[in-house]
C-alpha cells in the first residue's frame, strides 16, 4: 500500500511549496539569471556605463591560457582534497570503530577540526608554514629543505590541499563512522567464523556496504573543493604564485572583485554553472549505478 496524501483544491499545495519556490527563485534563479545577463556585457568598474558585447567575454576567456590552466588546477586540487580527506577519514573511522574504551573522547577530538571556519584554518596553516615565523618551515629548513610557498607553485598547492583537507577529514570521519556502526555485527562475525581475514572482510563486506555513504561523500567533497575552499586559498596564497593555486571559483572572485572585470567574471560564473551541472549529471548517471543500497 502506498502512503500518499491527496489535497483537495490547489491553494494549499501551492502555499506549501511557495516558500521553497521563493527561496529557489531569490537565491538561485534570480542570481543565475543576472550572471547570464551580465556575461553578455562589458561594464566599467563603477557601473557608470556598459556595452553589449555578445559572446565576446566567453571568447576572451577561452583564449586566455591562464583560464584554461585554471581548469587543470581545479581538477588536481579537488581530486587531491577529496581523495586524501576521504581516505584519511575512512582510516580514522575504521580505527575509532574498534575502540572499546574512551571512544567518545577520540570521536569528539577527531570531529573538532570541522568546527573551524575555512579562512581560520587557512590562517592557522599559513602561520605554521610562514617563511618568517612558521614552525614547520623552520624545521624543514633545519632538515635542509627550503620552504617558500610564496614562490614555489607545488609547495603552495600542497599547502592549500593540506589546509583544505584537514577540516574535511573530520566531516568524512563522522559519516564513515556512522556508516561503519550501521553495518550489522552479525554479518562481520559470520564472515569471521568462515575464516575471512580482516582485510578480506573489509574489502568484500565493509566497503560495498559503505558505498552509498562513499558516493554521497564523493559528491559533497567535490562540491566542497570546488566552492567552499575559497577562504583557505584566499588567506594562504591568494591564488599565487603564478596562478598555480587559482581554482575556477577563485578566478571568478579575483577577476570580478579584485580586477573589477565584471563581464569576464560573470561569464566565468556561467561556465562554472554549466560545469557543475554536467558533473552532477555524470555522478548520478554513471557512478551511482555502481552503488549498493
Amino acid at each position: 500500500m502506498e502512503k500518499r496524501v491527496f489535497f483537495k483544491g490547489w491553494w494549499l499545495p501551492a502555499l506549501l511549496v511557495a516558500p521553497q519556490l521563493l527561496i529557489s527563485f531569490v537565491f538561485f534563479f534570480y542570481p543565475s539569471g543576472q550572471a547570464i545577463w551580465n556575461s553578455l556585457f562589458l561594464p566599467d568598474p563603477f557601473g557608470l556605463k556598459t556595452e553589449f558585447v555578445g559572446l565576446d567575454n566567453f571568447r576572451f576567456l577561452l583564449s586566455d591560457p591562464y583560464y584554461l590552466a585554471s581548469f587543470k588546477t581545479t581538477i588536481i586540487f579537488s581530486t587531491a582534497v577529496s581523495i586524501s580527506s576521504m581516505a584519511l577519514g575512512l582510516y580514522l573511522a575504521a580505527l575509532a570503530d574498534r575502540l572499546i574504551k574512551g571512544a567518545g573522547v577520540y570521536q569528539t577530538l577527531l570531529i573538532w577540526p570541522y568546527a573551524i571556519a575555512p579562512a581560520i584554518a587557512g590562517v592557522l596553516w599559513l602561520f605554521m608554514f610562514n617563511g618568517n615565523i612558521g614552525l614547520a618551515s623552520y624545521y624543514l629548513k633545519a632538515l635542509g629543505y627550503e620552504w617558500n610557498h610564496t614562490l614555489k607553485g607545488d609547495q603552495a598547492m600542497f599547502l592549500v590541499i593540506l589546509a583544505s583537507s584537514w577540516g574535511r577529514i573530520s566531516y568524512n570521519f563522522l559519516f564513515f563512522l556512522a556508516g561503519l556502526q550501521a553495518i550489522p555485527k552479525s554479518i562481520i562475525e559470520a564472515a569471521a567464523i568462515d575464516g575471512a581475514s580482516f582485510w578480506k572482510r573489509f574489502g568484500t563486506i565493509v566497503i560495498p556496504l559503505l558505498s552509498p555513504i562513499t558516493f554521497f561523500l564523493l559528491v559533497v567533497n567535490i562540491v566542497y573543493a570546488f566552492f567552499d575552499t575559497f577562504g583557505v586559498i584566499h588567506t594562504i596564497t591568494s591564488g599565487g604564485p603564478e596562478q598555480s593555486t587559482t581554482i575556477l571559483v577563485y578566478k571568478v572572485f579575483s577577476d570580478g572583485f579584485v580586477s573589477q572585470d565584471l563581464g569576464s567574471s560573470a561569464a566565468q560564473s556561467v561556465i562554472l554553472l554549466v560545469l557543475v551541472g554536467i558533473l552532477t549529471v555524470i555522478q548520478f548517471k554513471y557512478i551511482e549505478r555502481k552503488v549498493h543500497y
Partner: protein, 437 residues
C-alpha cells in the same frame, strides 16, 4: 514590566540626544588603507581636524590594503553606499580618471565650497600624476613616496664590507651581495613591490618607456614596453641572484620589510616610507641610499612616485562636500604636511612643507631622509619619467608579479616572462580602452 518601560524611555531619550548631536555636526566618511604606525599617524591627523573646529566630523575606516580599499570603494559606489573620501593608490589613478561622474574633481570641489586652495603649492612631480593634461587637479595627493635602497649597516660589517661603500650601481650592489653570501649572510638582498621598483621606477630612472604614448598619459591606446633589453638584463640579474640564494623572495607587496626590520636582510629596495616602521622597530644601524642604476646609461633620470591620493566621490550632499573640502584643505596645510613627511618618510608633497622641514634641521639630524626628494626631483622630467597612467593597472601588476615569480623560481627566463607579461597586459589595456571609450 516597569523596568522594561524605564529602559525603553531611556533608550528613546538617548536616541533623541544622539539624533540632535548628529544633526548639529556634518559627518563624513574616509576609507583608507593604513594600519600599523601609519594608521596611528593618520588617526592623529583626523583627531586634530575634528578638534580644530565644531562643524564637521571625519570618521575614518581602514578597508584593508590598497587594492582592497579601492575595491571596497568601487563596490560601495555601485551599491550607493560609498564614503565621501576614498584613498586610491597611484595604480588606480587611471581607473578613477576614466570614471567620469564617479568623483567630484578636486578643483571643482574646492571652488563649490569656496575653499581657498592652491594647486600650485604642490610639488609638480607629485601633483602632475593627479592632474589632467589641461592642468586640472582631480584628486588630492596624500602620501607619496619613491623607492630607495635600505642598508643594514651591522650586516654589512659582518660581511666584511664598508657600510659606507658606494652602492650607486647594480654592479656594485652585486659585488656586495657576493661578499655577503661568501660570509654566510642568509638574506643579502630582498625587495618590496617588485613591479613598482624593478620595472616601473627602473624605466623612469633609466629614461626608457614603460609603455608607449608617454606611459599612457597621451592616450588610452597605449601599449606596454617593458620588455626592452635593459629591462630584461635587470630582471635576469634578479633571477640569477634568486637562484644563487643572494636574493630572497618574500612576497609581492611589502612582506620583505618584516625581514629587514628584524635584521635578517642586508640590502632592501623599498619605498622611502618604510622609514616609519624601520625607525620604530630596527635594532641595528640602518642607512638610506639612492636607488641603484646601471652604470651603462649616463647619470640616472628621476624616480616616480607611489602612494595614494584622496578622491572626493560624487553623489554626496552639498553640506558633506563642504566638509570634505574643509578636511582636504586642512590636510594640505604646511604644518600637517611637514609633520607627516618627517614622521613617515613620505615626501613633502607641498613645497612649503619641504622648505619648513629643511629649515627645522630635520634632514641634518636624520641623514638620508632627504634622498627620496632629491632622487625624484633631480632632473627635468621626461615623458618616460612623469609617471604612469594605465588602465586596469592593478591587474597588470598582478600579471607582472606572476611572471616575475616564474623568473625567480627558475622556470622562466626574463625574456620569456617579460614578453608574456607585456602580451597579457596589452590584452587588458585593450579591454580597458574598450570599456572606457
Amino acid at each position: 514590566m516597569k523596568k522594561i518601560k524605564a529602559i525603553i524611555a531611556s533608550l528613546a531619550l538617548f536616541a533623541m540626544f544622539a539624533g540632535t548631536s548628529a544633526q548639529a555636526k556634518v559627518e563624513i566618511q574616509w576609507w583608507h588603507a593604513f594600519g600599523g604606525r601609519l594608521g596611528e599617524l593618520l588617526d592623529e591627523q583626523v583627531n586634530k581636524f575634528n578638534a580644530s573646529q565644531n562643524k564637521y566630523t571625519v570618521v575614518h575606516t581602514r578597508k584593508g590594503n590598497y587594492s582592497e580599499t579601492l575595491n571596497a570603494g568601487i563596490a560601495a559606489f555601485r551599491a550607493g553606499q560609498h564614503p565621501n573620501i576614498l584613498m586610491v593608490f597611484e595604480v588606480g589613478t587611471a581607473s578613477l580618471m576614466a570614471a567620469k561622474g564617479a568623483y567630484v574633481p578636486m578643483y571643482q570641489l574646492m571652488k563649490d565650497a569656496g575653499q581657498r586652495f592652491n594647486p600650485n603649492g604642490f610639488v609638480s612631480a607629485v601633483s602632475g600624476y593627479y592632474t589632467t593634461t589641461d592642468g586640472k587637479m582631480l584628486s588630492m595627493p596624500y602620501n607619496s613616496s619613491t623607492p630607495v635602497l635600505w642598508v643594514n649597516k651591522d650586516l654589512m660589517k659582518k660581511a666584511g664590507l664598508d657600510p659606507e661603500m658606494d652602492l650607486s650601481t647594480w654592479k656594485r650592489v652585486g659585488n656586495a651581495l657576493d661578499a655577503a653570501k661568501a660570509k654566510g649572510i642568509d638574506m643579502p638582498f630582498c625587495t618590496c613591490w617588485h613591479s613598482w621598483v624593478h620595472l616601473e621606477n627602473f624605466s623612469a630612472y633609466h629614461n626608457i618607456p614603460f609603455a608607449t604614448k608617454s606611459n599612457g598619459f597621451a592616450g588610452l591606446d597605449t601599449e606596454l614596453a617593458f620588455n626592452s633589453p635593459v629591462h630584461i638584463k635587470h630582471i635576469q640579474t634578479l633571477g640569477k641572484w634568486a637562484q644563487e640564494g643572494k636574493f630572497k623572495y618574500m612576497g609581492r607587496r611589502n612582506e620583505a620589510g618584516k625581514n629587514f626590520r628584524a635584521g635578517e636582510c642586508m640590502l632592501m629596495t623599498e619605498s622611502s616610507a618604510g622609514y616609519a616602521g624601520i625607525k620604530k622597530e630596527a635594532k641595528f644601524e640602518f642607512g638610506i641610499r639612492h636607488l641603484p642604476y646601471y652604470g651603462a646609461t649616463e647619470a640616472p633620470q628621476n624616480t616616480i612616485i607611489g602612494g595614494s591620493s584622496l578622491w572626493a566621490l560624487s553623489g554626496k550632499s552639498k553640506e558633506e562636500n563642504k566638509a570634505t573640502a574643509a578636511f582636504l584643505a586642512f590636510l594640505s596645510k604646511t604644518d600637517i604636511q611637514a609633520k607627516w613627511h618627517q614622521d613617515t618618510g613620505y615626501l613633502g608633497v607641498t613645497t612649503a612643507a619641504a622648505k619648513a622641514t629643511k629649515k627645522s634641521g630635520f634632514y641634518k639630524s636624520n641623514p638620508g631622509t632627504d634622498l627620496a626628494g632629491i632622487q625624484m626631483m633631480r632632473n627635468k622630467v621626461t615623458q618616460n619619467s612623469k609617471g604612469l597612467r594605465l588602465g586596469s593597472f592593478d591587474q597588470i601588476r598582478g600579471i607582472i608579479d606572476e611572471e616575475m615569480e616564474g623568473v625567480y623560481n627558475g622556470t622562466k627566463t626574463a625574456q620569456v616572462a617579460l614578453d608574456s607579461a607585456v602580451k597579457r597586459g596589452n590584452v587588458l589595456l585593450r579591454r580597458f580602452e574598450r570599456a572606457n571609450k
